[in-house]
């Protein structure tokens, strides 16, 4: 029995259907100890959710009302989401790292009267801001082990009250469920965004259910999903809903326990940000390099064979990255050669795949059928590495505004270097940045516009209703149903989407040359010595970079330091990083002359989430540019005589 995901009109209905179909199967599991996890069944979750919904109705929550949901990954979060959906309300989620300004802005802007708050610490934060939050009436504490001060409800009490009411025949929750319309919101997500004040993205039940319907991944109740992304992030939420629809159990892990959890839970599927793959990649390489020379040789042989084997397969099945039109003659000539190579390599690959690569796969649990990487670009080396080793990484592309998936690689048709074809029912346009004309799909363009870069616009059932109470910003982003992603990309000749950077992050040099900072940054952060890096140089003669050195990288190199500042003050460190940059970014490596870093400055303070980084560890360029304006200016002396 393959994929039989539940399709419903809205989330509440989906939760009900899942409870009926999957009953006592575990829906979510939380970790108490390494081998002691606590499961919650679909039925119990639904029952508790109904009780909570009834409790919320009793508290005065109206249908379509916005309920704050502030906290990170824990079972009670899911329960709060269930309760919210089942009483026809809308949740407004945000993680523990919310700043005070953001909290005031979001609660007031979204007109939140009732809010779930995860911990005592967050509760204190809310109480401190009380006078700035005039509309906030009721606060519910999620953490079941924390004491609730007077005037604050505890989640379990609300559920208990709701359950009592239901026992006496209260069916108001069911009535609320019946009245949910597909067009109603299910969540209002405030994006910290890489620019400006938070914007409330309005996502409807129809948005989310359209995703559940077309996500090209097959999961059943025998699958296990390990979750480490922030629970409230849209990328994670689509998985929450999708796994519920498929009857899959989600196991909540965290970065600290990830290695153990991978081998204990043996997940069959995982979604995560590129950072996880980078660290897993480094861990595997480290283990290989520390191994006995014989084993190292075996690994490299295996990797080499796998590369030969897979590249031939990719070629034969038209799955290589095709940025140029394919010449038929070349294909005809090369195909027999690739076939021959495949034939010769296969038996050896077979042995090495079994003996050497399988143990490597075991370090990721050994059962992964596929994984999705999203929320940022995956460096192509790492992408290749996992695909050659035999862990298929399906890179996806999306944003909160599109709830979130726009495109994702298909399990049986992975084209490395792309984010796959557009989802079903989703249209992609590539627009000329200067003229605003459609490049793709455009029959007048050469090859209908494939292989040409431009700004990505999309249209489909997943596009948000708009930004809450921001008609102006909504109009800027969505025109005639087409949403501007703000990303640059192109359509390859095998109809996949390739992302080429942010259109807004593009640096225009004084000379008029345009360059994308992220590929350079991504290259540099692969150095073990460089933790973070931001390229600057808008309207300057040349580019320069702010670099946060890696404490750990220098430690394993033998340079001990108590903190970053000590590293930054060490002249040796500067020399090492200088040579790293020279080595990585050079004309002979394929970089253009104006892409070479002429100067850099070391930053003695790490970039942190909530300040310089978004929750998904993307750099907030404007924040960093403002904060380190002086340091950046240092690289560009007023006389400009040294530049160029």
């Amino acid at each position: 029995m393959m994929d039989n995901r539940i399709l419903a009109e809205n989330l509440a209905e989906l939760y009900r259907e899942a409870a009926v179909r999957y009953e006592s199967l575990p829906a979510f599991a939380t970790r108490k100890a390494e081998l002691d996890w606590h499961p919650v069944s679909f039925r119990d979750l639904y029952e508790q959710g109904l009780a909570l919904a009834t409790g919320l109705i009793r508290l005065g929550v109206k249908a379509r009302e916005h309920i704050g949901l502030f906290g990170d990954n824990r079972y009670e979060w899911i329960l709060a989401d269930y309760g919210t959906q089942l009483c026809g309300a809308v949740d407004v989620p945000r993680g523990r790292d919310i700043t005070e300004d953001e909290m005031i802005y979001i609660i007031n802007h979204a007109q939140i009267k009732v809010a779930f708050v995860e911990t005592r610490v967050m509760l204190r934060q809310v109480e401190k801001l009380k006078k700035d939050l005039p509309k906030l009436k009721e606060v519910i504490l999620l953490d079941p082990n924390a004491e609730a001060p007077k005037g604050v409800h505890r989640l379990q009490d609300i559920i208990k009250k709701g359950a009592e009411l239901r026992a006496r025949g209260d069916r108001r929750a069911e009535e609320r469920i019946r009245n949910i319309k597909a067009d109603d919101l299910f969540t209002l997500i405030y994006t910290s965004g890489t620019t400006g004040t938070p914007k409330g993205v309005m996502l409807s039940h129809a948005n989310m259910m359209s995703q559940v319907k077309v996500i090209p991944i097959s999961l059943t109740c025998t699958d296990r999903v390990l979750s480490i992304l922030p629970i409230w992030h849209i990328f994670e939420r689509v998985f929450e809903v999708f796994t519920i629809s498929c009857g899959v159990c989600t196991y909540y892990s965290n970065v600290r326990n990830l290695a153990d959890d991978l081998s204990n839970v043996e997940p069959t599927f995982m979604g995560s940000a590129p950072r996880l793959w980078e660290s897993l990649h480094q861990r595997i390489l480290k283990r290989v390099n520390e191994a006995h020379p014989m084993r190292r040789l075996l690994f490299h042989t295996a990797y080499f064979l796998s590369r030969q084997y897979k590249n031939s397969l990719f070629f034969l099945f038209g799955r290589e990255l095709r940025l140029k039109p394919a010449s038929v003659a070349k294909r005809v000539l090369l195909s027999p050669l690739h076939f021959l190579r495949w034939l010769i390599v296969t038996p050896f690959y077979g042995f090495f795949n079994v003996a050497v690569l399988e143990p490597v796969r075991m370090s990721a649990g050994g059962s992964l059928k596929a994984t999705i990487s999203g929320g940022g670009a995956l460096p192509v080396e790492i992408d290749r590495f996992f695909n050659y080793v035999g862990i298929p990484v399906l890179e996806g592309y999306g944003m909160t505004e599109t709830s979130p998936v726009i495109a994702v690689r298909l399990e049986d048709h992975i084209v490395i270097g792309t984010v796959g074809p557009a989802l079903a029912h989703t249209e992609i346009r590539i627009m000329n940045l200067e003229t605003g004309d459609v490049i793709y799909p455009n029959p007048k363009e050469l090859h209908e516009g494939r292989g040409q870069r431009g700004e990505i616009w999309i249209k489909g059932p997943q596009v948000m209703k708009g930004y809450y109470r921001e008609p102006e910003k909504t109009r800027e982003t969505i025109r005639n149903g087409w949403l501007n992603t703000g990303d640059l990309g192109m359509i390859t000749f095998n109809n996949c989407l390739k992302i080429l950077g942010r259109s807004k992050a593009t640096i225009v040099l004084l000379s008029g040359e345009n360059l994308e900072p992220s590929p350079i940054e991504m290259r540099l952060t692969q150095s073990p010595f460089i933790e973070h890096c931001m390229v600057a140089g808008q309207d300057k003669k040349h580019i320069g970079a702010l670099i946060v050195p890696s404490l750990e990288g220098f430690r394993s190199h033998g340079t001990e330091a108590k903190n970053l500042q000590e590293l930054v003050d060490n002249p040796e460190v500067k020399k090492i990083i200088q040579s790293e940059i020279k080595k990585m970014i050079s004309v002979s490596n394929g970089y253009k002359r104006f892409e070479l870093l002429q100067d850099f400055r070391l930053v003695g303070k790490d970039f942190v989430v909530g300040d310089e980084l978004t929750n998904l560890h993307k750099m907030k360029r404007h924040v960093i540019t403002d904060k380190y304006a002086a340091l950046i200016e240092e690289m560009y002396p007023a006389d400009n005589s040294k530049a160029g």
Partner: protein
């Protein structure tokens, strides 16, 4: 078909000895004392495995010799192959065929030890008429006395092969990481040497492959296939769960080739040694190919029940032994839902 010269030159014999040593050493390096304890955990599986390994396989080998009317040297060789204990590669194949690796390892361990007792008995029992044929031939040729199966030598060779196994186990006990290296290196060397031997045999005895009658090929190939087929049916008949069926099937068909080489080299002399060796080489070559295909097939058909088994097992690992997984009605096909254990350990009680 007669061998005019020796099949193997001294250098090849040395290589073969090195291969046998390293493969058996690698086998030992993959074993721990705990594996012997696991044997006790699957008494039913081990018993059925024992029946198919030492009951079915020798019988099939004998039947093939009779059916194809094989020359006595080949007949003895194929019976020898039929009586061998399971090989270590079967554990790897069981893993990829989504079978029970624990059972496969337990069966390999048990059969290797039991072979010391079973092989001489079985060989004596099945080869009687073929040894008589050889004796008659030798009488006619006037080249010597009565031919008997060198039981003492066979036991001695078996013991000799177990020495590197013990050494490997000792290494594993001392340093698991070194043992892992040894295991992989041994596997790799095994492949290289086998390829070399086949290559040289083919090059020196040009036409040897063409001269070899179809009956020899067929028996070398089918002895493994029959093992796979009947090992599977037998365990199915006894209602073992699918993961055990697949493990027993592969374990039955895949024999420990290196032990055959060792016994043939150490216990038998020309003129029959080369012929026996040739059949053993053919078997070892074809078994890799056939078991690869069987594994791919099992992997495909076993996908569903293995995923159910795995999921159920992991639920018990994480949620406690008492946790019972109920799959939705109609989700499990009858084949699995009727199996009280759903192929899982510990046994889950169903209502």
């Amino acid at each position: 078909m007669e061998f005019t010269t020796q099949l193997l030159y001294p250098i090849d014999q040395v290589l073969l000895a090195v291969m046998i040593f390293s493969i058996m050493f690698g086998m030992g390096a993959s074993l721990t004392i705990d594996d012997f304890k696991t044997v006790m955990r699957y008494p039913r599986g081990i018993l059925i495995g024992f029946l198919s390994q030492f009951g079915l396989m020798p019988f099939f080998a004998y039947s093939l010799a009779i059916f194809f009317d094989l020359p006595p040297a080949y007949a003895i060789s194929i019976i020898l192959i039929g009586c061998l204990p399971g090989g270590t590669t079967s554990n790897m194949f069981a893993y990829f065929a989504r079978g029970s690796v624990a059972l496969s390892i337990a069966m390999t361990t048990a059969s290797t030890v039991l072979a010391l007792l079973m092989m001489p008995i079985l060989l004596e029992f099945y080869t009687e008429e073929f040894t008589r044929q050889i004796s008659e031939e030798m009488m006619v040729a006037g080249t010597g006395a009565e031919f008997v199966i060198p039981t003492g030598n066979i036991i001695a060779s078996l013991v000799l092969v177990l020495v590197p196994v013990a050494m490997g186990m000792f290494l594993r006990y001392k340093s698991p990481s070194w043992a892992k290296t040894a295991e992989d290196t041994a596997g790799f060397m095994g492949i290289i040497v086998i390829l070399y031997l086949i290559g040289t045999a083919f090059a020196r005895h040009s036409g040897l492959m063409l001269q070899t009658p179809a009956a020899i090929y067929l028996s070398a190939i089918s002895v493994g296939l029959l093992g796979f087929l009947f090992g599977f049916w037998m365990s199915r008949l006894f209602r073992l769960s699918p993961i055990f069926q697949r493990a027993i099937s592969l374990e039955t068909g895949i024999q420990n080739g290196p032990i055959a080489f060792a016994i043939i080299l150490l216990s038998f002399a020309e003129p029959i040694q080369s012929q026996m060796l040739w059949l053993a080489i053919l078997y070892s070559t074809f078994i890799v190919i056939t078991s690869s295909f069987i594994t791919l097939y099992y992997r495909r058909v076993g996908k569903f029940d293995f995923e159910v088994y795995k999921n159920t097992t992991i639920h018990n690992r994480l949620f406690g032994d008492k946790y019972i997984t109920h799959y939705p009605g109609g989700y499990l096909p009858k084949r699995i839902s009727k199996d009280p254990s759903q192929g899982s350990i510990p046994v889950q009680k169903r209502d």
